[in-house]
Amino acid sequence: MNTLRIFALEAKYEFLKSWRLPIYSLSTLAFPLMFYAIFGLSFGNQNAGPVNTATYMLATYGAFGTIGAALFGFGVGVAVERGQGWMRLKRASPMPPLAYFFAKIALALLFGALIVLGMTLLGTLAGKVSLEPLTWLRLFGVLLLGVFPFCALGLFFGYVLGPNSAPGVLNLVYLPMAFASGLWVPLEALPKALQSVAPFLPPYHYAQLALRTLGAGRGENPWLHALALVGFTLAFLALALWAYRRDEGKTYG
């Protein structure tokens, strides 16, 4: 037995398991790419601040996609595995519990990376995206590093939702939250009331950090955004822990 090998195998099978499930792999990968192609590229000639729209939206739709991969990978994954009893069998096994979460994080990062790479290709080949390699790398890095609050949020929902209700409820959280955080259309184009709500939503801070790597965004202090994301992560983890404990006593007989 080798702990590293367990982590690697968990991640490998987490990937195979999801990849073979078209409803998951297609909706997680294809929807954000499609949205970016429709909204990001068709307005590509206009400018959004210092960059063109296609470039601006590479950051915001990239954030939209990576959030989806994290939220659904954890949320639906945990809800389904709890529902089917796979989680229980694994918890009874000698598997190090961290390996389970590691595998889900690895999957969210991998799907997130595929989404951002796909969008970059689309934007560069079919749109007006032309980024310096270093700038792109910084954007890519921020988008990947910023998924943790959404992993934690997904984990919470995974413990409170049932396997059948999870996808629906998560979409009800995901889509409005993305919209109100300015991931679909720039915040400036949203009604004033919504603009004032945005700072209370984690995707707003995430997207602002991503935009900043392009020299766009609102130019607020990046450390405040980072701090907000750390705060959200801790709060969601605390909620997830509460939900996990609540769930513990449910199976008896």
């Binding site: 037995m1 080798n2 090998r5 367990i6 195998l9 968990e10 099978y13 195979l16 398991k17 999801s18 073979r20 499930l21 595995e81 529902g83 089917q84 009893g85 796979w86 229980r88 069998l89 918890r91 009874a92 096994s93 000698p94 598997m95 190090p96 513990e248 006593g249 199976t251 008896y252 007989g253």
Partner: protein, 310 residues
């Protein structure tokens, strides 16, 4: 059962032990002051109806939940400790597996958790997985899925196996074949804790039976002892005597009203029949049969208040 003081002093504790354990879920008392030891090398059947607390007992021994009070150990350690768990395998009730992984991949994953797992060929042989290793779990039949669950339990070559209602939903043939798999585990020196609500299954497999009902241990012994305690006669008759009165007759173990008739379980039929006829000369439709295993089991676990419904 403890035979002498030296047993208490020198015998190391069994692989899994519950010591005066209680576990409540809200107002539901799943386990109430239960002490239970799974001894090394034995096949122990935890017998009881649904809701008796069997799954709770297994969950506690596997560290899936914490007891409300009392102590639970697995190989002398906290059941959550990885070292203890590396010596245990489990087949849990209602444990599904991701539909989109192949049988071979599932076994590969679970083998990686253990320090000295069985070679794949041995797992295939033990769980009868020939020909389905490359199939996706979601494409398997019910019986094949159950064999995969068995494979996941044994693939780490653990010392103790927890099998929670492993034959629920199996047809007669699969059940027999599963029994022979459990017997070969026992021959290999494994410790097995099996929960079941079939006395027949406990009888076929176990060295020792613990009967659990409504969260309490109500009987314990070898299958033969349990059967002896429950074996008896079933008497059926239409009578004007009240169930409460009949229940107080010597040798009567349980009484149930069935329409106008009473169904009485007794150790021996003759004295009870004689007494019934003496008390109610107008008694009719008398019938005496051997109590089947299921009736006997019901007599062991049916709580008094259920009989008193009428």
């Amino acid at each position: 059962m403890v035979h002498s003081l030296t047993d208490v002093v020198h015998k190391p504790p069994g692989p899994a032990v519950l010591e005066r354990v209680s576990k409540h879920y809200g107002s539901v008392k799943a386990l109430e002051d239960v002490s239970l030891e799974v001894r090394a090398g034995e096949v122990l059947a935890l017998l009881g109806p649904n809701g008796a607390g069997k799954t709770t007992a297994v969950s506690l021994m596997l560290g899936l939940m914490r007891p409300g009070s009392g102590r639970v150990t697995l190989f002398g350690q906290d059941p959550g400790s990885p070292r203890a768990r590396q010596r245990a395998g489990a087949m849990l009730q209602l444990s599904g597996v991701p539909q989109t992984l192949r049988v071979r991949e599932l076994i590969d994953l679970f083998r990686s958790y253990y320090p000295a797992p069985l070679p794949l060929e041995r797992v295939v042989e033990a769980a009868q997985l020939e020909g389905i290793l490359h199939r996706l779990y979601g494409q398997l039949s019910g019986g094949q899925k159950q064999r995969v669950h068995f494979a996941l339990a044994v693939c780490g070559d653990p010392d103790v196996l927890f099998l929670d209602e492993p034959t629920v939903g199996m047809d007669v043939e699969s059940r027999r074949s599963f029994w022979s798999q459990v017997r070969s585990l026992a021959r290999a020196g494994k410790t097995v804790l099996l929960t079941t609500h079939y006395l027949e299954e406990a009888d076929a497999l176990a060295d020792r039976v613990v009967v659990l009902n409504q969260g309490r241990v109500t009987a314990e012994g070898t299958p033969a002892e349990i059967k002896a305690r429950t074996a008896g006669r079933q008497i059926r008759a239409v009578t004007r005597l009240s169930p409460d009165l009949v229940r107080r007759l010597p040798g009567v173990t349980s009484v149930q009203a069935k329409g106008t008739a009473l169904q009485v379980l007794a150790v021996r039929a003759e004295p009870v029949v004689a007494e019934l006829l003496r008390l109610d000369p107008g008694l009719s439709d008398l019938e005496v049969t051997g109590a089947g295993l299921e009736e006997a089991f019901l007599a062991l676990t049916t709580p008094a208040e259920k009989e008193a419904v009428r």
